[in-house]
Every structure is written in C-alpha cells, then in structure tokens.
C-alpha cells in the first residue's frame, strides 16, 4: 500500500515539475531591449472573441514592428513584447492579472474588456502606476479623480447619437426599439442609448426586452418587439456571437426596418450566421473598409491573417491601442517607466494615423466633453453597413 502512495506522490511530483518547466520556458528574445506591453482581458470562455481580437491585433502589430527593426523611443530601440493574461471575464482574476503586469514592470496595459473588470483593476493600476486601456464605458473610470484609464474605443453614448441622428436625417427614422442582453455592459449601453434617442426627439417604442446571453432561439425574445414595428431596432452592446441570430430572427419574423448596434462586429460571422439577411445591418468599426484603409492597415490585416489564419474585423478598432501607446511613448520617451509623463504628454499629443488614408488623419486623445479630461483614444468613428459579406462605410465621424 505504501508503494502505491509513493507512486502517486512520484506521479504528482513529475507532473508539477513538468508544469514548472513548461511555465518557465522563456519567450523568444531578439537583440533589441524589449518593451513589454500588457494585456489583461478575456481570452477563453463565452466572451473569448473580445479579448482574442485584442491580443491578436497586438501580437500582429508587434510582429510587424519588430520585423521592421523595432520601435524607436528616445535614444533606444525596443522590440515590443506582448504579455497577456486571461482573466476569464472574472473581475477577481483581472486584479490578479493587473498585479502580474505590475510584477513584470509593465506600465501600459490593454484591457480589461468588460465593466466589472475595468472597475476592479482600478485600485491596482493606480497603486502601481499603470495606464490601462479598457473597452468599458462607465464614465467614472475616465473622469477625475480617476486618471489612469483611457477608453480604447468610441463609447456608445458617443456613437449612438451620431448614428441615430444620421438615420433620422437620411432614412427618416422616427421610432426606435432597444433590445439588450441581461448583463451589466449591454444594459448600461441600452440605458444610455435610450437617453440619446429621446434627446434627439425619437420615439422609443420598446426598451425593456432583454435576453440571456445563452439564448439559442431569439424568436420569442423578439416577437413582442417586432410587434411594435419600429423604424430602427438597436441591438445594444450585442456580442458578436448573438448578433447574427438576432438579425436572422428579426428578419424571419417579417421585420423590415433598420437594425443597428454600437459595438464592433465581424463580417465573416455575420455572413455565416445570417447570410443575406444581415444586409443593411449597421455597426461601428475601425478603419479597414477599402474607402479609408491605408496601405499600413492592409499590411496589418495580411499579417494578422497569416499569423492566425483568419482576420477579425473587431481588430480594426483594437489595433489602435498599441499604436497609441507606442507613439505616445515616442513623443515622451521618459514615460517608458513614468506614467505621469505619459499623462502629461496626452494633452498635446498628436501623430499621423498610420491606418487611415489621408494627410489629416491624426492620432490624438479626446474625451474632454464626455469625461472632462482627455482620456480616450481618438479612434475614427466609422459607421459601417454590412452588405454581402463585407462592410461598407456609411459615414465617418470624430469624437471630441
């Protein structure tokens, strides 16, 4: 009997050694000094798509930059190294991830992807001097006294009014209905969307229908909404996985009005999930539509596709975070290990936008009107419309 337990102990020991070895394998290192940029967000489980499009866009861009000889910051050239942490969409884990980043000496982190995680990491980020770029919309994250978070995309309370206004003026939309998942982020987005629509004088005919994110059949969910026959159906904060289903169910129920959302979507997913029923679906994206994508953007998409097999249109927006961090560091080299310098540089920062065509496309920080300080990346607000497997640009706007 003793032999058996010894055997077990031995097996366990082997196992843990194996684990330790695997986890100790050092990542590939080039001759340049490396500049670590972190990611804390969700890359497994139901919401994996959000974080993975972040991580992959960062890794693809880093690979491009390193191949080009690295990034010049002050008088040093760095290779960019991406350190990722999967928080499993659990705010408690997100804190651990942020601690890990602090431990690695990282001062610039992309993520988390959701409201609760972004709020939970705030104390750690502030204690350890970390600037982080969440994809979460609560205003108190970015408004004083908070100062370490920088919103990584266009918030729906910024894009929503622009979209509704455009549709009101160009498509004659008068009534609007909102549907959202019964979760924090989408519900908050719905509430601010409803407020924006009312502000514009639109009539909100339905705003309290919600669904569980694990819903597989949206027909019962949408039946009461479609009965109101709104001119515009807004899918607030819809996850890319749910969007095609919702569109399909709405169309199959005979709905003929417009459908829109304020989050980024993926054309491939829409095409597989809803086919031509998704035509006319309005969403917000970055800058990869042919009208505005620069050569750099196309090269990035190619690189991404080569590395990971398939591009994700959500990365159009998400690629900006790393570019902003690196360009701001280049503008204020001492910020490499001093986030206060970074913050100081943010106000006056301006650099060319490599991903967009045109001389006047610039990177700069915005957010003054929403947050009272510049704590948002100026990502081009590109409103897309889906048609036959690809996005077309409906209009481009800027956030201030």
């Amino acid at each position: 009997m003793q032999k058996r337990s010894l055997l077990r102990l031995a097996a366990l020991a082997t196992l843990s050694t194996a684990v330790a070895t695997v986890s100790a394998v050092p990542s590939a290192r080039a001759q340049n000094e490396s500049l670590k940029i972190g990611f804390v967000g969700v890359t497994s489980g139901p919401a994996a798509a959000w974080g993975i499009s972040n991580v992959r866009s960062m890794e693809a861009l880093a690979a491009m930059l390193n191949e080009e000889g690295g990034v010049r910051i002050g008088d040093k050239t760095y290779d960019v190294e991406i350190v990722t942490f999967d928080d499993q969409k659990d705010p408690k884990r997100a804190i651990a991830g942020m601690e890990k980043m602090a431990q690695e000496g990282i001062h610039y982190v992309v993520g988390p992807n959701v409201d609760d995680g972004a709020a939970a990491v705030r104390p750690v980020a502030e204690q350890n001097g970390i600037i982080y770029i969440p994809y979460a919309f609560p205003k108190e994250l970015y408004s004083p006294p908070a100062s370490n978070a920088v919103l990584g995309m266009v918030a729906n309370y910024q894009s929503g009014p622009a979209i509704y206004k455009y549709l009101k003026e160009n498509e004659g939309v008068e009534t609007v209905a909102f549907v959202s998942a019964n979760e924090s982020d989408p519900l908050s987005q719905r509430d601010s969307g409803v407020a924006a629509a009312k502000e514009l004088g639109l009539e909100v005919v339905s705003d309290n229908v919600t669904y569980q994110v694990d819903t597989t059949d949206f027909t019962p969910v949408l039946t009461p909404v479609i009965r109101e026959n709104p001119d515009l159906l807004v899918l607030s904060g819809v996850a890319p996985a749910n969007a095609p289903q919702l569109i399909r169910s709405a169309r199959e129920l005979g709905y003929e009005g417009l459908i829109s959302t304020e989050t980024a979507q993926d054309a491939q997913v829409l095409s597989e999930g809803a086919g031509e029923l998704a035509n006319g679906f309005i969403s917000v994206g970055g800058a990869s539509t042919p009208e505005i994508a620069s050569d750099r953007m196309n090269a990035f998409v190619d690189r991404y596709t080569k590395m990971f097999g398939e591009y994700n249109d959500e990365s159009n927006t998400k690629v900006y975070a790393l570019q902003y961090i690196l360009d701001t560091l280049a503008a204020a080299p001492e910020a490499v290990d001093d986030v206060e310098a970074f913050k100081a540089a943010m106000d006056g920062f301006e650099a060319p936008n490599p991903f967009m065509k045109g001389e006047d496309a610039k990177l700069h920080y915005v957010g003054s009107s929403s947050f009272g300080q510049k704590r948002q990346l100026a990502v081009p607000l590109v409103v897309n419309v889906y048609r036959d497997g690809a996005f077309e640009t409906l209009f481009v706007a800027e956030v201030d």
């Binding site: 019964n182 694990d214 059949d217 019962p220 009461p224 997913v269």
Partner: protein, 289 residues
C-alpha cells in the same frame, strides 16, 4: 398565441433532446455530466466543418457529429469516469472530473475551432407565414421535426432493442441488472456513448439555425440540468417533459412578461426554485433520484 405555442414547441424539442442525453448518463452512472454542453458544442463544430467547410451533405455531417461524440463519450467513460468512480469514496467526486473534462474540451475547441461564432448555410430557405399569426422559417420546422424524430427513435430504441432494455434495467437498479447478467461495465460505456452522441446530434442539428461558438457549452449544460430537474432526474419521460416545459416557459414568459423586461428570467428561475422546493423529485422522478 399560435406563434407562442410554435416557438415553445420548437424550443422544447431541441431542449428535450439535449436533456435526454444528460439524464441517460445520470440514470446509468449517477454522474452529473458538466461537460454535456461542451459535447453539444463539439457536435456543432463537427457539422460546421463537414457541412459548412468541406461541403459534404448535411446528413453526412450529422452522422459525423453523432459518431465523433459517441467515440469521445465511450473513451471518456472507459478511461476517466470508470477508474475514478471505482476508487472514490463519494460518488459526487465525479463532478470534479466532469468539470475538468468540460474545461479541457473548452480548451481544445478554442484551439482547434477558434473563438468566433460559426454558422453554416441554411439547409432550406423560405419562411412559413400563416397570415402573420404564425411565422416559422422552413429550416426551423425541419430541424424541429428532425429533433422530434430523434426523440421518437431514441424512445423506440430504449423500449425495444436488447441494448435499450439492458440500459433501462441498469438505470433502474444497477445491482439487480448485474445479477440478471447485464455486463454493467460494457453497458455503462454504451450508455455514456449514447448520451454523448445525443448531445453531438443536437449540436449538429442546431448549428444550422443558431450557429455555434465555444461559449455555448457551459450555459447549455446548466439549462439541461434545469430541464432534467423539472422532469425528474434520471427519468427519460421526465427529461422530455422538462425540455418541453422549459421551452414553453421561455416562450410564454417572454411574451407575458415582456413589459417588465429585465425580470423575465428572474421569474422563470425563481418559480423553478419554488417548484423544486415543493416537489423535490420533479414531475416524474423517484424521490431522491
């Protein structure tokens, strides 16, 4: 009204089929299979690959899904559940194993099939529209009918085939079945494979309607648990009833409570808790499973 009933029936048919596999495994081995949802997702991805990517006929893809999952199920039973159940003091320990398998399958699915939502071309186009009283796309009707046929086939199999009868004997009383000469080890493996196969089959069927993504696993397991509890754990008729009841509850609840929006599911879940507190063995279960 017709619409609500039709929605409920359609949902119920697919739910019932998911619950059947889960309850079968539970009845045979007293294992609450936390990985059931992941098996369903894997089935969906197999059909996606074979039908959506390779372009083979849908029914071939469906067969591949069922077969793959049957093999996976058999292997899991033989090499994981059997040794663990044989040596653990409390059979609840199998829950940890089931959860570990669920994590593992999640990881494999993520690495192999990626994080994106996947869908396949419609198998039939068009929408049935009966005077706007009942709107139902044809592919949904087809899948609903296929699900019902599968349920019927499963019931016939369990009632009339030799294997089915052995499985039922074993589900009723493992020891007695053993005394009657049923090779319980072998049939546990067959039963587990069968349960997993059902999960794969539903995954394959539903990928044509809902598509598939790796996040669907966990929530599907939990919904399946609920259905099994409503009907009574380990009882086949109970799983079917539970599936249809949950389908109807969602359909009716969402319509009736749509004015109150956010609380629809709160009401559904709370009433489930009350129901189970009053009738712990579910509708058709034996007390204490």
């Amino acid at each position: 009204m017709e619409q609500i009933l039709a929605n409920g029936l359609y949902l119920g048919a697919q739910y019932a089929l998911i619950a059947l596999g889960l309850t079968l495994i539970f009845a045979l081995m007293n294992v609450l299979n936390f990985a059931h949802g992941q098996m369903y997702v894997l089935g969906g991805f197999v059909t996606y690959t074979v039908y959506g990517q390779l372009g083979l006929p849908f029914f071939v893809a469906l067969g591949c899904s069922a077969l793959t999952l049957a093999v996976v199920g058999a292997l899991i039973e033989r090499f994981l559940f059997r040794p663990v159940l044989a040596r653990s003091h409390r059979e609840e320990s199998s829950m940890l194993l089931a959860a570990g398998i669920a994590f593992f399958m999640d990881a494999v699915i993520l690495l192999v099939f990626g994080e994106k939502q996947r869908g396949v071309p419609k198998i039939v186009g068009g929408v049935l529209n009966w005077d706007f009283r009942l709107i139902m796309p044809y592919d949904r009707i087809l899948i609903g009918v296929l699900a019902l046929l599968s349920i019927a086939a499963f019931i016939l199999f369990m009632s009339y085939s030799r294997t089915g009868r052995a499985l039922r004997a074993m589900a009723q009383d493992r020891v007695a079945a053993q005394l009657m000469g049923v090779d319980v080890d072998r049939y546990a493996m067959i039963g587990f494979a069968l349960g997993a196969m059902l999960a794969g089959l539903v995954g394959g069927l539903l990928v044509t309607i809902t598509g598939v993504n790796l996040g669907m696993g966990g929530p599907t397991s939990i919904k399946a648990f609920l259905m099994v509890m409503i009907g009574g754990a380990g009882v086949i008729s109970g799983a079917i009833a539970g599936g249809f009841i949950l389908g109807m509850m969602e359909s009716v609840g969402l319509t009736l409570l749509s004015a109150y929006g956010d609380i629809t599911y709160l009401v559904i879940f709370a009433s489930l808790m009350v129901f189970l507190a009053i009738r712990p063995q579910g509708l058709m279960g034996k007390p204490w499973g």
